[in-house]
Amino acid sequence: MADTVAPTTPASEPDTTASIDLATTPDIHGQSPTPGAHDDHADHHGYDGHDDHGGEHGHATSTGLSNNKLAMWMFLGSECLLFGGLISTYMLYRGRHEGSPSPSQLYNIPLTSVSSFVLLMSSLTMVLAVSSAQRHDDRNTSTWLTVTALLGATFVGAQVFEFTEFYHEGLGFTTNLFGSSFFTLTGFHGVHVTVGIVMLMALVGMINRNKIPGNKAEVVEMIGLYWHFVDIVWIVIFTLVYLIPS
């Protein structure tokens, strides 16, 4: 590390307008420096690892928005491209079902409607969990999170049942293009739900043991956003895959 630097510039003219406006003085043109500049734990990381900040108040950021929330929404935006690709592949290949029953023969709309309803309700319970977290009500937060996970698990259970039925009726992953693309699309969604359930249960565990580094309500909110996203993907899949006849 270069500790000494040989100055190359010649002696400058006497200092007239002087100094660099450092963050200890406000900008007189009207923009006050973000208070984080005063702060001991200034702007070096976005993730608040300190408990002494507490509560809903994150670091001062240039936009005033939380780093984690910004990151999560961007991630969800990118996931639209992921699921869009899988949905498009399915839409392209849904008609190539030689060697297996057709979609309309296989799909059990009543069953899938019920499981869709279950997933939708899990979004409600998730929102209630976030609401409880924002009121610092740990008990209710844990309860609602657990209910959400249970509803999610019910959904996954129904999916597993459904897929097993399809397999017995002659549609496997490798049977034909319809099978490959159907199971890939719904499988990806199911894995996302499962990962969500794992995160929900981990969150319940961490809340109960008070092991959440940082803003508890925000973490619950972030998991909530992920969970709702998984739900809205299913809203699209349910309509395009199940309800639209091929």
């Binding site: 510039t9 400058s12 660099i20 043109h29 420096p33 001991d40 950021t61 990151a71 293009l177 890939t184």
Partner: protein
């Protein structure tokens, strides 16, 4: 052991009386690493500067690897009926050359610059998610290594860098090469995606007070656009790679034509990613050049707003042109016409940039440092490549040009003459900042001229070869096909090969330059280029915490305006120099600077990924092991605070022997 006091001014703490930080106990089996020296300070670092350097070193190593692959290709094509490479080896060579250069050199090298410079340019102390940053680097490295182990495990991928189906199916590519390619790119793709989220949040949320987006350095702007492109493009290739993986490893039939599959599905998915990808490759270099030209023209960037907006425009429009890679695939006249027109349109924002750069140079007091030479080189070489690109946009002419060496000429002019020249400009410009030393200008000139001559000798003739009908990816050409006269393919192939070795020599000169600089004791002056942007308001290299105090920004080119002000006559007068500004910083240094603590979870999680990948190819049990590592590492990471808690700063009880490593602050 002596009890150390927590210092009041860590920024000024020096020498043996430096205060010490104890590591927090992590939730893993090992203590949280906090050493600041030795290999551990690199492996477990979350510091954006160290990560940037590691990205750069590894990317450059892959550059050499990809370059050797290119030289082998050129040796094979130097003469007719050549037997340097078998057909199978040749296929692997051009596939890996392209894959390495694109995914393991240009993209990570841009990440190196972005990681190192963005926080410094915007006046921050690190990125928004430092551990995620480290994770991204390790994903890149293990992914790149994983990909290249294919050479030794049955053969590398041999289906070309865009891996068209059904050629990639097991029937036509029986070795594991394609699997390594697909899985390796999935792993490096994770690096790109997480890096994108990280840098966007950093740029949006961690700018110094007063730095609005339109006062942000132009390099940061171009990187911001690139990250948005990555954010939305990487998932598309992720889908394609998953479909390919399921096809090859689990019996799915996405690309089995017999079962009714449409090969165009792969092409669409790949090129929807692939076209934004080429803008991902070039925009960082555009950003570098936009920084270098003003400094060495002693003028601000002409039309900063236009350069910003045209960058964003390229980002938008780049999504609407992908099928110009598919003009000869049978899309039909309507689709072809639409994409043809869209492709012509995208030349416009790039043209705007060329104009702005030229106008920056115009009337400026030009200093032809090596960085400046590479920057001007980019303008010229990229324009040549852009012109051949315009001919590609016209679909009738593209139908003749596609899959010939004309296209190879086009993309090497824009990628080598564009992206790589920009990166080299960045090397010479920012070397003093990163390493505290100046690269030799004398060797730099040799480097530059050898690369320019080599590049034009290599890729120039390819225009002729292509239009004369030499196809891409052709393992051997016969003497009979060589031809006579000016368009003698034999002659131009030989010229191209000679050119490629001149190019290689130029790069060797660069390596010698780096080595000589490393050995030389001469340190760089504080502000060697009399530069304009905020990263120069730091020591060379910067302190670990970057800025002693975060400056408040009033204008674009803030650093320049701190040094120079207009007097009453409107002339620029120097009002402060680098040393004065640095002294003021130190005098007002922040009292307590907590930096994010190092961590090993990112490394562990990253290492789990290629284990899963090897498992998918060779043994499903291994895949499960890899998955377990990934899940456990994810939990360990999420349970660990990003900064060691306050209580950990208490010194250890005196007399107790400890294996904990202690780290000085500041």
């Amino acid at each position: 052991m002596a009890i150390a006091e927590r210092p009041l001014t860590p920024a000024l703490a020096r020498g043996g009386s430096s205060p010490l930080v104890t590591p927090s106990s992590s939730l893993g089996a090992f203590r949280r690493p906090v050493s600041t020296t030795g290999w551990r300070s690199w492996v477990f670092t979350v510091d954006h500067k160290k990560l940037g350097i590691m990205y750069g070193v590894c990317a450059f190593a892959f550059f050499i690897l990809g370059g050797c692959e290119a030289l082998l290709i050129r040796l094979q094509l130097a003469a007719g009926d050549n037997k340097v490479l078998s057909a199978s080896a040749y296929n692997q060579m051009f596939t890996m050359h392209a894959t390495t250069m694109i995914f393991l050199f240009v993209m990570p090298m841009a990440a190196a610059f972005a990681n190192y410079l963005i926080p410094l340019q915007i006046g921050a102390r690190d990125v928004a998610f430092p551990r995620l940053n480290a994770f991204g680097f390790w994903c890149f490295l293990v992914g790149g290594i994983f990909l290249n182990t294919s050479w030794f495990l049955g053969g590398a991928s041999d289906s070309g860098w865009f891996a068209y189906a059904p050629n990639t199916s097991v029937a036509f590519s029986p070795s594991h090469g394609v699997d390594f390619w697909a899985l390796g790119l999935q792993i490096t793709g994770i690096a790109s995606l997480t890096g994108a989220i990280n840098l966007i949040v950093t740029v949006l949320n961690m700018r110094a007070p007063g730095m609005t987006l339109m006062k942000m350095p132009i390099f940061s702007w171009m990187i911001l656009v690139v990250q948005f492109l990555l954010l939305f493009a990487v998932p598309v290739i992720t889908v394609a790679l998953f479909l390919l993986m399921f096809q090859r490893n689990f019996g799915a039939s996405f690309f089995t034509v017999d079962k009714g599959a449409d090969p165009l599905l792969w092409q669409h998915l790949f090129w929807i990613f692939g076209h934004p990808e080429v803008y991902i490759l070039i925009l960082p270099s555009f950003g570098i050049v936009s920084e270098v030209l003003p400094v060495f023209s002693r003028k601000p960037l002409f039309g900063y707003k236009f350069v910003v907006f045209s960058g964003a425009a390229i980002g938008f429009l780049g999504w609407g042109v992908w099928a110009h890679h598919m003009f000869a695939s049978g899309l039909g006249p309507v689709s072809v016409a639409v994409f043809s027109v869209a492709t012509m349109a995208i030349a416009l924002p790039t043209g705007v940039k060329i104009v702005n750069w030229t106008m920056t140079l115009w009337g400026g007091k030009l200093h032809f440092t090596t960085a400046m030479l590479f920057a001007i080189g980019l303008i010229i070489e990229f324009t040549i490549g852009g012109l051949s690109g315009v001919t590609h946009s016209v679909s009738p002419s593209d139908t003749q040009q596609t899959d010939t060496y004309y296209v190879v000429a086009h993309f090497h002019y824009v990628l080598f003459g564009g992206a790589v020249f920009g990166l080299f400009a960045g090397f010479y410009y920012w070397w003093p900042k990163v390493f505290g030393k100046m690269l030799s200008e004398r060797l730099g000139k040799w480097n530059f001229w050898l690369m320019v001559i080599g590049m034009n000798l290599t890729f120039g003739p390819m225009h002729i070869l292509g239009l004369q009908g030499q196809p891409r990816r052709m393992v051997v050409w016969t003497k009979f096909r060589g031809g006579d006269g000016f368009f003698n393919g034999a002659f131009w192939n030989l010229v191209a090969t000679i050119g490629s070795f001149i190019l290689a020599l130029g790069i060797l000169v660069f390596i010698i330059n780096v080595f000589k600089t490393w050995r030389s004791p001469a340190l760089a002056p504080g502000d060697p280029w009399d530069a304009r942007t905020l990263e120069w308001l730091t020591t060379n290299p910067p302190k670990e915490h970057n800025f002693d105090v975060i400056p408040v920004v009033h204008s674009l080119d803030e650093f320049f305006h701190l040094k120079y002000a207009e007097d009453d006559a409107g002339d620029l007068q120097k009002v402060a120099d680098y040393e004065q500004l640095m002294e003021e910083q130190e005098a007002k240094a922040d009292k307590h600077i907590h930096l994010p603590s190092p961590s090993y979870w990112p490394v562990v999680l990253a290492v789990g990924l290629p284990i899963i990948a090897y498992g998918i190819i060779f043994s499903h049990v291994l895949a499960v092991v890899g998955a377990a590592i990934v899940i456990l590492a994810a939990f360990g990471w999420s349970l660990e605070p990003s900064v060691a808690p306050e209580s950990d700063y208490d010194p250890p009880v005196g007399g107790e022997p400890t294996t904990k490593e202690l780290a000085p602050l500041g």
